[in-house]
Structures are given as C-alpha cells and as structure tokens.
C-alpha cells in the first residue's frame, strides 16, 4: 500500500514528459522566447573566468574584447591597429613617450564617464608584479603611466617599441579599482548581461555607445564541448552562426544546402610539429631539416582539411606584415632527408611525439608516422591532455617533439626566447627581434622580422605543418560577420539578419 503514491507520482512524471514531448510542435527548445533579432552564435571556446589579468583566456577575448571591453587601441578584423578609446596619439621624437588623447563622451555601461584615471589604473594593474596576464612581458617596456589631465594618458617607455600600440589593443579598460569584468565596467558597443558557465554568454546593445551603434540588438554565444552537438544545433536552426568548424567532415551536411552559407577565411592558427631544439638529435640543424623534408605537407593538409587551409614553411601567417612565403624551402624530398640524416650520423632514430588527441591530431600523427617510416625514422605517439601538456612540455620542457596549434598573430618573436618550450637558441635571431621592436620605423621593423622569419624557416626551428583555414557556417540570412580570424576577438557589431 505504501508504494501507491510513489508509483502515482512516477507515472505522472513520465506522462508529463510524454505530453510535453508531443505538444511542442516544430519549435525547438533552446531558442523559444528570445528576441527574434538577437544573433545566436555557437562556439567550442568558452571563457574560463571573468577575473582580469589571469592568463589569456581566448574565450574571453573572443566574446568580449571590442564587443564589450575596449583598449586604447584596437586591432580591426583585417589585423590593422586602429584608434579605439584613444582617438589619436602622439609619439615623441625619441619614441619614448606616447601621449594618448581619449575619445570625448565615453561612458561606462553604468553611465559613469570614462576618465584618464580609469585607463591609468587598468594598464598599471595589468603590468603590476602581481599580474598573471599572458604576454605581460610584451608590455614590460612601459616604465611610467600618468594622466596629465582627464582626457590624456601618457606612457613612458624604457626603449622604443614598434609593437606597443598593437599590444595595447589586447589590454582592455575597466573602471578604476575593478579586478573583474562585469555588466557595469565596459565601454564597448555591447553591455555584458550574463554568463551561465557551461551554457551561454549574453551581451546586449548599449545605446549610449560613443561610436557607431551595433547593428543588432544583442548576441548570445552558446558553448559546446562536442562539435557534433554544435553542428546539430545549427542544422535545426537553434544557432545563426558557428565561428569555427574543426573538421571538413562536419561541412558535408551544410554544402549544397541553400539554408546555409559557408565562408572560408584565413586564420593565424599555425599547426606545428615542434622539436625540443635544446636536446639531441634536434639540436642538430641537419636532423631538423631532414625531418621537415620527410613530411609531405600537401598530402597531409589534403587529408586533414580536404583542400582547405594553406601549407606554411615558417611561424608567420600571410596576414602578419613580415610574411615571406617559405612553403617550398624544405619541400617534400625523402631522398634529401635520408642524406641529411646520414650526414648527421643518425641511424635508427625513434622519436616520441606528445599530442592532445582529437580527430585532426590523430590523422596528423598517422601520416607523420608513415612519412617518417619512409626515411627510417620511427614515431611513437604519446597522447596527453591539455593540462599535462602545459606541465610536461611547456613548463618542464620534458619532451622530444610535440604537436601544437598556435593561434596568436605576430608570435614569431617567441623564437627569440631560448627559454620558450621549443628551446630554439639563435643569438642572431634574438638580436634581430630586439632591434625590430626598437626600430625607428615600421619598414625597418618589418625588414628585420622578415630576416627572422627566413632564418628560422631555413634552420627548421620547428616543423610548421599548415595554417588552419577559418571556416564558418551561417544561416543564409545572416551577414556582416568577419570572414577572416586574424585577431583574438570576434567582432559582432556588424552582424545583421536580413528579411
């Protein structure tokens, strides 16, 4: 007898589920009762947290930088440095003093006016000794920050820095004293509304924005762990746009379907087979060159990306100003590879490769394995996860070779840091990189970094396999999104829905 109410409750629960399942009709769950014109964007890249100056969460910069939070400068969708919170700036004759003139009438999302003190605080906090901001070293050149008046910010440098205005674009400004990103302390075209971890982040148009108004009323980013679930949501109409497709297999279902548009743009994501250059046999330039020549990169790219993407021969993507096409410097040549290995006196080489397993890296490992077997080298795969990679490879340098994708633009300069995980140590390259940043003109900077680019390519400091394509799929009525991804942010203010 006691079990009756329980069974009754259970029955009604199941009945309710069944009823609701049948009654919903065509509309799908997640998109009901949202504003019709809000843009819903799917991505696998979720912010890790909203505390400022901890690492460099690409999920945060992708969703928030330029959309909600702005720096003195910005990098536009073509990779050019443009004015943002600073409407202009003057550089002193010696290149050591930068005077930024703030945009007038900028207000934070709670209505407070932006003052020079907010900017001074935001930059000081980011470069303070306690800051754990990634690439903080890039800003170490700043020795003093001051606000001569409410509309002016002055930076004093220890030396010239060609890349200062580029680096400042990634450093967003919040209200003085704030250590977290929130709904009140941004200045961008959108106001941050909410982040539900593991699900979505919503931003809405800010009507008192100082610049051009966003063309849509708001955007929700939905986060997925599983690319299949992401594409399913797009297929049934729950999403308007997917920022990045991870494999061509997912594209088949959208091709030849008039409901969708597929765009192919360029990215700055370089896929590397990186060697630990500080240990034998990779400290021998001939061995690195031999291994590089042993790889049929065209076939590899074809297998992984089915015709999309681009073969590269160095760390520099075509959208960086110092790009030189070096894809053919160490073109596929197994005979030359065998010769070089013989010259280096290396026989029966067995190389472990640490990699983070997914569909792409599994394919790459298989192909590398067969290419290398062809020149008498055995590759032994060692799958590990992200956190292990960071500990073992990045921090402890306890590896021989690894597969890794590097997403940042302008990161060739890491080859000038002998303590970086790949341990490439060439004093000439280090000197050029140092000179390039201190160069008097941009032309001089570009010329020096071109030399760096050519030198590391020639010496096969790493084996750069290919540049990822940037493939987006959108509903046919969605337009105005950036096709290329050459910056860390995904700028959404120009996205519109037609019809």
């Amino acid at each position: 007898m006691r079990t009756r109410p329980l069974v009754g409750a259970a029955l009604s629960a199941v009945a309710a589920l069944a009823l609701a399942a049948c009654s919903g009709g065509g509309s799908t769950g997640a998109s009901s009762s949202m504003p019709q014109d809000e843009i819903v964007i799917g991505t696998t890249n979720e912010p890790t947290g909203l505390v400022r100056n901890v690492g460099g969460s690409s999920g945060v910069s992708q969703t928030m930088t330029r959309n909600v939070f702005e720096g003195l400068t910005a990098v536009d969708v073509d990779g050019q440095v443009v004015p943002a919170l600073a409407e202009s700036w003057d550089v002193s004759e010696d290149g050591l003093t930068y005077t930024f003139h703030l945009q007038p009438d900028v207000v934070f999302h709670d209505g407070t006016e932006l003052t020079a003190d907010d900017v001074v605080w935001s930059i000081s906090d980011a470069i303070s000794p306690e800051s754990k901001l990634a690439r903080k070293n890039d800003l170490a050149v700043i020795t003093d920050i001051s606000a001569p008046d409410d509309e002016t910010v002055q930076l004093t440098l220890s030396r010239r820095s060609q890349s200062l205005t580029f680096n400042l674009a990634g450093l967003t400004v919040v209200q003085e004293g704030d250590s977290e990103l929130g709904p009140d302390n941004g200045t961008g075209p959108y106001r941050f509304v909410e982040w539900v971890q593991g699900d979505h982040l919503t931003i809405e148009r800010f009507d008192d924005y100082w610049g051009e108004q966003a063309k849509n009323p708001g955007v929700t980013f939905r986060f997925f762990d599983d690319p299949t679930a992401l594409n399913n949501a797009l297929l049934v109409g729950d999403l308007d746009l997917v920022i990045a497709e991870n494999s061509p297999d997912q594209l088949v279902q959208f091709e030849d379907d008039p409901r969708f548009t597929i765009t192919e743009g360029s990215s700055t994501t370089k896929q590397l087979w990186a060697f630990n250059d500080r240990v034998a046999p990779f400290s021998d330039v001939r061995v690195r060159q031999a291994l590089y020549k042993a790889i049929d990169r065209d076939a590899l790219l074809e297998a992984v990306w089915d015709g999309y993407g681009q073969v590269i021969g160095s760390m520099v993507p075509p959208t960086d100003p110092w790009f030189v096409d070096q894809a053919d410097v160490h073109a596929y040549d197994p005979a030359a590879a065998r010769d070089l290995l013989a010259q280096a006196g290396v026989t029966n080489l067995t190389i472990p490769v640490d990699y983070i397993p997914d569909d792409t890296t599994e394919t790459v490992v298989q192909l590398l394995r067969s290419d290398l077997a062809d020149v008498g080298v055995t590759l032994t795969p060692n799958p590990i996860d992200d956190a292990t990679w960071y500990q073992k490879v990045y921090t402890d340098h306890d590896f021989q070779t690894t597969l890794m994708g590097h997403v940042n633009p302008r990161d060739v300069v890491w080859y000038a840091n002998p303590d970086f995980y790949w341990g490439y140590d060439n004093p000439q390259v280090q000197e050029w990189v140092a000179q390039a940043d201190q160069a008097a003109t941009e032309e001089e900077q570009v010329e020096l970094l071109r030399r760096v680019n050519e030198t590391i390519g020639q010496e096969a400091a790493s084996a750069w396999l290919y540049l990822d394509p940037q493939i987006r799929v959108a509903k046919a009525e969605i337009s105005g999104f950036p096709v290329d991804q050459v910056t860390e942010s995904f700028y959404v203010a120009d996205i519109v829905r037609e019809g």
């Binding site: 919903g24 947290g49 690492g55 539900v196 971890q197 956190a387």
Partner: protein, 324 residues
Amino acid sequence: MARHLLTRSLLTRVASLLVSLALAAVVVFVVLRLLPGDAAGASLGVGTTSDQLEGLRAELGTDQPVPVQLGQWVAGLVQGDLGTSFVSRQPVADLVAARLPVTLPLSLAAFVLAVLVSVPLGVAAAVWRRGPLGVVVSALSQLGVAVPVFWVGVLLVLVLALQLGWLPPGGFPRQGWGDPAAAVRALVLPVVTVAIAMSAVMVRYVRSATLDVLDQDYVRTARSLGYGRWAALRRHGLRNGAAPVVAILGIELATSLLGAVVIENVFALPGLGTLLLDSVEARDLPVVQALVLGLTAVVLVVNVGVDLAQRALDPRLRLTGGAR
C-alpha cells in the same frame, strides 16, 4: 527487541557510511593531486612565465604540501563550505547548485521510466519465458546491454531530432525551468537514452528474480491448490521476488545519476556531467572533489536505503541483525 536490533543496526550502518565517506574523501583528494598538470598551468596557458605560474599557485594555495591542503579542505567541508573554483573563482556550491536542475530531473525521470518499463516486461518475460514475448525481451535486453549508452543517444538524435525534427537535438533553455515546456522537451531524448540503457540491465534482473520465485515450492503448492499462475505469483511471489529487485533498483538509481553524467555531453546539457568533464580538463580540483565526493555519498546513502528497504520487505533479514 526487534525494534532495538533495528536501531542498533541502523546506527552501525550510518557509522560505517561516514567512515567510507571520509576514506573516499581522502582517496579522491590525494589521487587528484597525483595527476600531471595543475590548475595554475591550465588556466595561464602559453605566453606566461614561471614566475606568474608560481604566483598563481601561491594564490590558489596549491603550492602548499598536500596534507595541509587536505586539512584546509576538510575544515571547510565540516563547516559546509565546498570551497572556491580555481578557475572561475565562484563558490563550488553555487556551480553545483546551478547544474542540479538539469541532472537531477534527468536521472530521476530516467530511473522512473526504466522501472516502469522493466518491471512489467521482466515479470512478463519470466512468466512467458518460452513464448515469443520472453524471447524478444531477452534478445532486446542483450542488445541493450551490449550497446554503449552514448551511441544510443547519437542514434536517437539522428532520427528523432535531425531527421524527424520532433525534439531538440541538445541544449537546455536559457530560462531553465522558467520555460517548463522547453525544459521538458530538452530532457526527453536524454531521459529516454539513459532509461533504455538502464532498462536493458533491469529487465534481466527482474526476469531472473521472477523465475526464481516461480520455481519455489510455495508457488508450486499454491498452484496445486488451484491458484492460476498470475494469482500465485501475486499472492506469494511478488514480495519474495522484490528483495533482490530492490537491491538492483538501488544500484540502478546510482547508475541513473552516472548515466546522466555521461550522456550530458552528447546532448550539450549544462549539468553536473559537463561540469565534471570541464573541471577535470582544467584541473579545477575543488569542483572535481565536490562532485566525486557527492556522487560517492549518493551511492553510499542509496545502499543504506536499499538495506533498510530489504529489511522492511523480508522479516527474516531483521532477525539476523544485518548479517546477510
């Protein structure tokens, strides 16, 4: 006398539950710290220096010796504080609470559905064991046990969501249960998926428990007295067959929770399972610890509940004072 025995055995059960829980907490804590990689590294990523890494470790307290960290965690637990996420810096209790409205209904509904399907099917399959129904049920349950649960999920999405468009392929409404119809629709496929996997196992247990009972002397005697097969089963068999089935139900209740955790990723549901996966990946140890300990606690508590339920069903167990 019997009452006194029952109280004493209850106290013993609760005491041993607490000891198991404490042991589990220590094991979970230590094992997680043997994993390569840590939260500081995972959240800082490429482009940071070792000084910054050390700084973050000091901030999170992960630079302390493991026994000290364990002591701090246990001290917090005793005061009801689950700690703070290493990554998002939000209280762990808030993170877990935000996910419960997805995982709890999912696992309970799957459990109820599985019971409603498998108990009648299992009994019927036993009664008509040589008939077509018995054979079909046995074959289907074999198949259900062999197929991985996420594969069932993928298949259901393909047919019911993508081909037929009857249900959403994944996701949970942004308003959560504020939009009850959408929330229920979002959970239908995951519930059915987990229930299928569970029913496959439970049908087999119910069937074999019923078969055992049908073979007992008292059932044969009852039938010889003129009761029909069903009447004999109803009058003498169900209560006798229930004890082993209750044990399985207990295990399956815990399984439904684990099944929900596994299947959430397939359906992009913001529940405890996706939280657990993300947290392991980011080495967000306070969150992982809380979740694993919580799941362990549920399993242990369900076991005690099962034990008590069995005693209620079968007076013979009460007299032996717990020795089974």
